[in-house]
Amino acid sequence: MTGDRPAVSVHDVDGILAWGRVHRGRHRVAAPGWPGDVAAAARASAAGSNTLARGFGRSYGDSGLNLGGGLVDMTGLDRVLAFDREAGVLRADAGMSLEAVLRLVVPAGWFLPVTPGTKFVSLGGAVANDVHGKNHHVAGCFGRHVRRLGLWRSDRGLVECAPDTEPELFAATVGGLGLTGVMIWVEFALIPIAASAMAVENERFEGLDDFFRLSEDGADWPYTVAWVDTLASGSRLGRGVFSRGRPATTGPLTPHRPGGPTVPVTVPGFLLNRWTVGAFNRLYHAKPGSAFSGEQPYDPFFYPLDRIRNWNRLYGPRGFYQWQGVVPPTLARDAVRTLLERIARSGEASFLAVLKNFGDLESPGLMSFPAAGTTLALDFPNRGARTLALLADLDRVVAEAGGRLYPAKDGRLPGAEFRRGYPAWRNLERLRDPMLMSSFWRRVSQGE
């Protein structure tokens, strides 16, 4: 009903889910509607213990949850503070979604400097996970484009962080999993576009060597990514579709249209299995679009899954595990081959398998995931011990190659393995706001 929004109150809410739907549980939730209410919301939801700022809940595992503790729902903070249409700089509340940013900036001839595979993430989440996209080889992570941040810390109050004023806190906040303070606003640089459409070329490839060759040849394209068929084995191992794109040089500046179909209920888990996924993969590899060349709107190019709301319900009531690792360039070919062999042998089906070469542009973030090398992203329906055994197997391959996993997608990596991959974790722990905590951080900073 209508009327003034009430001051901050706290509700106990059961069954708050991570995007992978494996992790879920009870939280004390406060939802500030105004920047001035953030401190009160954090304190009220912490209730003498701890809390965590949360946006749209797109992290797959437990990094966006704080089971048994507090959550600050930041999605009510979605105002623009300043938009410089000449210089292409946007300063906005941390709860504003990339989706809303696009609707604002695209008609003015600007675009996100870096975008992940979904536009339904908050600016705060984009910074806290230092997200990357198809242009990592030329643009690096989102954090490289952030100029300033507004943080609220329980021990310092409001702190403005920039690389020159608060270098240590800024570096810890970019990729800092929301633990260094509640992000209130973010100021970042946009990139200019002449048109909203993308010039795209898709090409089938029949094996991993072709993927690496196409990646090298395609390095002058700003956006590149590949989909791989994880059920193909033997001579077909590593076959897939390579996709590259760049903004069109002429045409209208049209933002995407909101809406689209939704998955209304959680479907039975058996619908996604190795046979249905295998059939999909064969069709996807063979479909005419896999050799498409031409223009398409930016929405289907960057965000194909956003077209089906709540697609995560397709994995059934037990949910699914995401897994994303990166391995350094010298060992990448062998490591990726080994990973694909282990998956093919396991018989577990990954519906969405994405392969990309990262560039060597460094992020300012202390704990940023991307590093020079090759990244593989997978998701597996949760089939209990079998799935976990495969993921542990994949972890070992990454560890032997000296790589690491992406926290935003993880919900089960052993703590010791996380700490090996992120030696800077102690610095983040030292700079963590004592009132902030997540289920992920409890697990990886303390557990075995």
């Binding site: 009903m1 209508t2 009327g3 003034d4 929004r5 009430p6 109150s9 509700h11 809410v13 059961d14 069954g15 708050i16 939280h27 939730v29 939802a31 500030p32 509607g33 105004w34 920047p35 001035g36 959550l71 729902d73 999605t75 009510g76 105002r79 623009v80 503070l81 300043a82 938009f83 604002l104």
Partner: protein
């Protein structure tokens, strides 16, 4: 822009008003925001400017207090430089039980949701009539469609407002002045964002704002939003007393 509208929003810090104002800002309109809280008005004004509003003016005022209402309203119009559209969006949800215990609170609540709203709607209607056209939109509620034990004070105020708007609409039939009575159902505000909603009846402030935009364009006089509340309230209004009396809502 040639068709820049001059828009006055009474109760500009409400979630629905803010979402609707964003739609108008994106069209390059000129807006004046009235509300009680200076900081909140400033935050909304900055946001609307960044979204493309031609200009955004603000004034702090307690709209439930109608002392000097005619002069205050005239001052708003002078600053805005005329009037094409008015949204009356303020209101208080309040607490039914405490209104039953405390009649002074009951009276304040009725003043906020009906008496003062009627005064501002009358002033707005007069200004639009003098300007030979324009649209008055006011946010009522489905709660006004039938008195229920859980919220009959709020419901009675909104019933009064709905009837008042219906009368204005009748008065201006066939003229260039449109009056739109908006009756939202349950609206999902930030406060309730994580609460699993009991069924599909919850709507977002964005949906309500979109419906308001459509109603203005189509010159509708009554709009239930989302639309299915029309059906829900048709049933609720026609439930026979013996059944209605047994329901707890």
């Amino acid at each position: 822009m040639a068709d820049t509208k001059r828009i006055l929003i009474l109760g500009a810090t409400s979630a629905i008003a803010e979402r609707w104002a964003r739609l108008r800002a994106g069209r390059g309109d000129r807006l004046m925001l009235i509300g009680r809280d200076r900081d909140k008005l400033a935050a909304i004004a900055a946001d609307l400017r960044a979204r493309g509003a031609a200009d955004v003016l603000t004034a702090e005022s307690d709209l439930a207090d109608t002392e000097g209402a005619a002069e205050r309203f005239a001052a708003y119009l002078e600053r805005l430089g005329g009037l094409d559209l008015v949204l009356v969006a303020y209101g208080q949800l309040g607490d039914q039980a405490s209104a039953q215990r405390d009649v002074e609170q009951l009276e304040r609540w009725l003043r906020a949701n009906f008496l003062s709203a009627a005064v501002w709607c009358e002033l707005a209607a007069g200004a639009l009539e003098a300007a030979d056209g324009g649209t008055l939109v006011a946010i009522s509620s489905v709660a006004g469609d039938r008195g229920r034990r859980s919220n009959y004070v709020y419901g009675a105020a909104k019933a009064g407002l709905s009837t008042f708007l219906e009368g204005l609409s009748h008065r201006f039939a066939g003229t260039a002045v449109d009056v739109v009575s908006v009756r939202p159902g349950f609206v999902d505000t930030p406060m309730t964002a994580h609460i699993p909603k009991g069924g599909p009846l919850w709507a977002t402030p964005e949906q309500i704002a979109d419906d308001i935009e459509r109603a203005i364009a189509k010159r509708r006089s009554i709009v239930y939003t989302p639309w299915y509340w029309w059906l829900v309230m048709l049933i609720v209004r026609n439930l026979p007393r013996p059944i209605f009396d047994r329901m707890k809502f």
